[in-house]
Assembly symmetry: C2
Amino acid sequence: MANATGGPEIEQLIQLLSRLPGLGPRSGRRAVLHLIKKKEQLMIPLAAALDRAVAAVKVCDACGNIDTVSPCTICADPRRAETGLLIVVEDVADLWALERAGIGQVRYHVLGGVLSPLDGVGPDDLSIDKLLKRAPDYSEIVLAVNATVEGQTTAHYITDRLAGSGVTITRLAHGVPVGGELDYLDEGTLSQALKARTKF
Amino acid sequence: MANATGGPEIEQLIQLLSRLPGLGPRSGRRAVLHLIKKKEQLMIPLAAALDRAVAAVKVCDACGNIDTVSPCTICADPRRAETGLLIVVEDVADLWALERAGIGQVRYHVLGGVLSPLDGVGPDDLSIDKLLKRAPDYSEIVLAVNATVEGQTTAHYITDRLAGSGVTITRLAHGVPVGGELDYLDEGTLSQALKARTKF
């Protein structure tokens, strides 16, 4: 539907904001009205923050993390190398989630996706070659890919490629999420949790 | 939770985006990652669009609409005066919704909220005085406020203030929403829809 009001500047802002994940045309419009109402407190700071981020954001050459420096803060921190742990994740969002969980002094490697022949994503589209080059510097590689079919396929592929390198390859434990109710869990998770039961 | 990754520019962008309606800390972070991934197609255009909108956006002196000119495109259009209809709405979002509905050549008046003693919103906080000054130029004033207690209180207050001005005051019809199923409607709407039934 055409929008007769607002002028082209506002219309364009609505269209761009609508393309953010979690927003659509309706909520994009609501967001723009909110921005305009809070021009001094929100709209002007957001415009400035976006300009600064556009100029500052870099993808880390070593690990694929997003930061304002390359190599990123994590790769540049020598304490991070001490544990010898390299955590392989699909996406920067996963890296950030693990950092928020405070898992300690580890380094990461962002694959940039998972193998998915149906979507035309092959090994060359992911940063697997870079991972193979980094692997000898670490004592253990944790494949923290999602527990999906594509994620597990990717994990198997990486394990094959690393065979003979001598590095230990591990994966995240399956089990009951902390705070989760058994009633709502799928059978796969429950049977894995039972198999991997630990002493109380 | 502290976020060790991303640097202050990214962290600030996440915090500002999280304050948009419909987004929170988690979806704000997702939105920023999406922006960074689509830097050329989305992040840079959005930064430019925000800068342009900050510079261009104006609130119409006459009606309270948001536009890039004041008086706004609607107030400046002489054809809009011909019907003599002035539609009073709470918010610019309501004005835009009515415009999208294509209700024809009308003018609007944005109150900027509703009377709400509990929230400390009195008549002086809304653009009611401006409405009283505009009213004599129109033949009919439609109070298109929300069908909430505050909206109806505001409508009654405006009706009282306009008493004796000679202008016709109307309100939107209550009834079954187009496409709505009776089963899901509240009793109030159903009884109003029956009372206001029309010939088939």
